[in-house]
Amino acid sequence: MGDEVDGVTGVEPAGGRWPGAGPLLLGVRHHGPGSARAVRAALQAAQPRAVLIEGPPEADALIPLAADEDMRPPVALLAHAVDEPGHSAFWPLAEFSPEWVAIRWALERDVPARFIDLPATHTLAWDKERPDGDGCAGEGTAQRPSEGRPPEADVRVDPLAALAGAAGYDDPERWWEDVVEHRGAGEGDVFAPFLALEEAMGALREAYGSGGGHDRDLVREAYMRLQVRSARREFGDAVAVVCGAWHVPALRRKEAVTADRALMKGLPKVKADMTWVPWTHRRLSRASGYGAGIESPGWYAHLFGVPDRPVERWLTRVAGLLREEDRIVSSAHVIEAVRLAGTLAAMRGRPLPGLSETTDAVRAVMCDGSDVPLELVRDRLVVGDVLGEVPRTAPAVPLQRDLTRIQRRLRLKPEAPERELELDLREETDAGRSRLLHRLRLLGIGWGEPAASRGSTGTFRETWRLRWEPDLSVRVAEAGVWGTTVLAAATAKVEADAVAAQALAEVTELAERCLLSGLPDALPVVMRVLADRAALDADVGHLAQALPALVRSLRYGDVRGTDTGALAGVAAGLAERIFVGLPPACAALDADAAEEMRRHVDAVHGAVALLGDTPAAVHDGLRTRWHGVLRVLSGRDTVPGVLRGRAARLLLDDGEVEQEQAARLMGLALSPGTPPADAAAWIEGFVGGGGGMLLVHDERLLGLVDTWLTGVPGEAFTDVLPLLRRTFSAYEPGVRRTLGELVRRGPGRGGGGAGRTGAGMPGFAADLDQERADAVLPVVRLLLGPAGPGPSPAPGPGPGKQGGDELVGVAG
């Protein structure tokens, strides 16, 4: 440290401890905190005149931004093809990444720092050649040697796994941690570990062949060699190179310049652009998307950040977190956990307790052996909630570029004044506009707000109110975290929202918006979450609320030609759970709860009717089972009257219950044994909400109500009156008047009516009024088309009923 420049040879201006000849090659494990410490110590000791870093050279211009005070890791370098923003690659950098440490060290001392990996121009083009064309997972992870855990078919070996295996470890990560990461910094020779590692990698490369990486590695290494060579021409040997440990022997090797140049010939190219984007710890972890492949970024950040006593400090943090969550954790717990972790490490023969030892200790001492609080520790501390920040001066994110492109294609200009936009979803362009606006809304970019359509209420029309506020550009930049194209970003956002959603209804809403926005890729995740939430939600009310929205989505999906098979499946599953849970949930409810449940029953009934037409549901006999549930409801005494009445009514409407049976049910409900309030509730359920026509047409039912009403004792009548008033006052005036007239005529004729309805349609006279029936025929013929004039509809109840149903279906 602080060694004076002695000018020993002129070409070696740095401290007297420059190790060996040639450039200082620092092989690291990407995102290894121990590597980062070692790199910092080595740079400090060697004081190189330039720092070369494995990374895309297009980002050289962006390096100074790393010193910006608004720049906070984790961040990522993002490279994307200019004409195709969806095609991109990431180089994530955390605070504890050796590359980041090297960049910051260089910037602090005004030492030039450069990236020397193969330009993204080529690597992006490589990814593009791949048949699946998905570049996202490509480069960012491939740069890390230990990450190359090969799929079985791939011959590419994992160098660290091989080394760890040789050392008798089954887990390469743990081996690396023990040997490199957990080594305290500053002991002994700061360069020794790098030399040892280089030797080991050299041996490995010999054993497995340098192609143990793969062909692309050879090209990249050739390029890096060329870059190192040109840097040495400029700065002499006082150049430090920070790269993946695997590459070190290749960079050390002397190769003919011409041979290296030859490898560069004919590489594919795309026009690439680079910028910094904020990153998160969660994305660094292996569990999510294009992670950098480290399981415990939070733990690594801790190891890197603490001055000393990492285990004690870590366990104290864990205790703090558990206390915040109202678990009783005392200092004594922390002491015991530290002791257990230390003893465990000794028993396992490790130099220091690692994450697995501390986790075991936390589980045994602080969590009573349970994994539930431990999951919290893992999520909040081991992975961590850290979100990076990027200064505003960073170049525009590709999302903005993609948005501009789409706006141009759809001829939809961002304009400040507010205007209204009518869309006809049957047209290609309008459908595209609608999708764009919906997607932007999902991303929190409120350019357009849906407005109520004027005139047509068809599902193929949409009205939007558009207004581009200047701060929406900031929103676009913020949304850049989610992806590089509007489609990808919206998909990622919806998926994240679905996973984070609290209530079932939120998830169904997301499903709906998925369909509106045309995000088929996000749908499986949303459906998955939805199915999981539905399975675990014990409240039938929640399920019943979710179902109609889902069924509505199905219909939207139809309009937009989305494949809704999965949706229908989930909806059917949801319905199934409601069927099972509904009868027990309907028992012993008070008046308000019963009323709410009645609304649920109605909603489910409507949804099942719509859902019943989908092939899956028809196959399953969904409707039949729903009728079974309704039958149970209508016949169970513990179910409140309003629900029993409603169930009976719905069955009657569907033709599942004969008129006689309905009358019998009503008779039972209104028999003298039933408390009057309960009976009135039954009536409300049965004929409430547009049920007036039923009473008008079926005088027998009216007669039953009438008989019951006259039989209600005087003192009970005042209790019943509000209920009845609520029921009957909801009818249309015409219906009310007709009912009144019928009642005035007296109940005697009602009994006669019951006798006559036996043969004919319910509510109609048995005999046909020939004259009036004939008058209808021409209209019916007109409606049903000219094909059927031959066999004239036979006068009789059967066909008449059929025709009537069909007409209703058409009109609806």
Binding site: R339, L344, A361, A364, G369
Partner: protein
Amino acid sequence: MSVSVEPTSVEPSRSHSAPANAKEAEALRPHAENAFAAELAALAAHDDRPRPPRWKLSPWAVATYLLGGTLPDGTVITPKYVGPRRIVEVAVTTLATDRALLLLGVPGTAKTWVSEHLAAAVSGDSTLLVQGTAGTPEEAIRYGWNYAQLLAYGPSRDALVPSPVMRAMTRGMTARVEELTRIPADVQDTLITILSEKTLPIPELGEEVQAVRGFNLIATANDRDRGVNDLSSALRRRFNTVVLPLPESPEAEVDIVARRVDQLGRSLDLPAVPDGTDEIRRVVTVFRELRDGITTDGRTKLKSPSGTLSTAEAISVVTGGLALAAHFGDGVLRAGDVAAGILGAVVRDPAADRVVWQEYLETVVRERDGWKDFYRACREVSG
């Protein structure tokens, strides 16, 4: 000491296990330290790592004894516990510190088995045992009196009858408490002084017994029926807790169930029933899925019923089914024979569990290939 590798030899054990006598060879169930004496001796012979005071083996060797392995001379140590290595390591490490060890788990997860073998390997004696019941008195944990002595000569150490825990303290050995949560709360709490102060006061004599180095305690408890006598937080704090998990893979569980059912069937003299592996697999699958709250294909989440649905219960369901099939059926174990048993095991709470069960039937069982007969049978008994 001559070490014979023949399993019948109990020689080495006699030298350090005091109560051993000739009858032990015929014992229905020999203690762990006798049954595996040869393995323990071989481990001790090869054990060159540091041992905590009064331990017969080093922690590393204790872990090997439980998890199995092969010694340098070729002696094979049979695995006593098949499960995550982590669990055994944490358990042994806990005993090496001065913290007590609490083994939690649902019935049938080998808690007692592990505790017995740990005590045998650490102290060479697994007999210092207190069996916890609702009637366990304080004397069982502290000390009692020999009343004849007490009346004749007054209170003295000679009149004292030490408990297993007290004996373990004076000798620096491992004591065991089984079913800790079944012991009444006030009796449980007598352990607090023992575990935190490592002393046992004897106020009648104005003395105390101090634990010798090497003393520790292993307790087992059932973590599903916590309600019995939950541990006070003061006591809980003295323990490191290790939860013994249920069998990890369905195959392992099917294997355990099939083996136990076979043994039970023979001891109950049930008529032989041809291979019922398919039905056993089905029972295990149902139990696992409902227990874990997710189907085996990982596609559908499920609600879990309130019962424990342990492996032990699966065994009793299958045994019951076998008896039905043998005595009333056609001698083949069919879906109908196990359906009623499963229903009884799953539906413990008539309201909530029934919904869980019906949902499971309708959303999972009904659509599963080859489960039609089972679905029908379950519908029949569920009503």
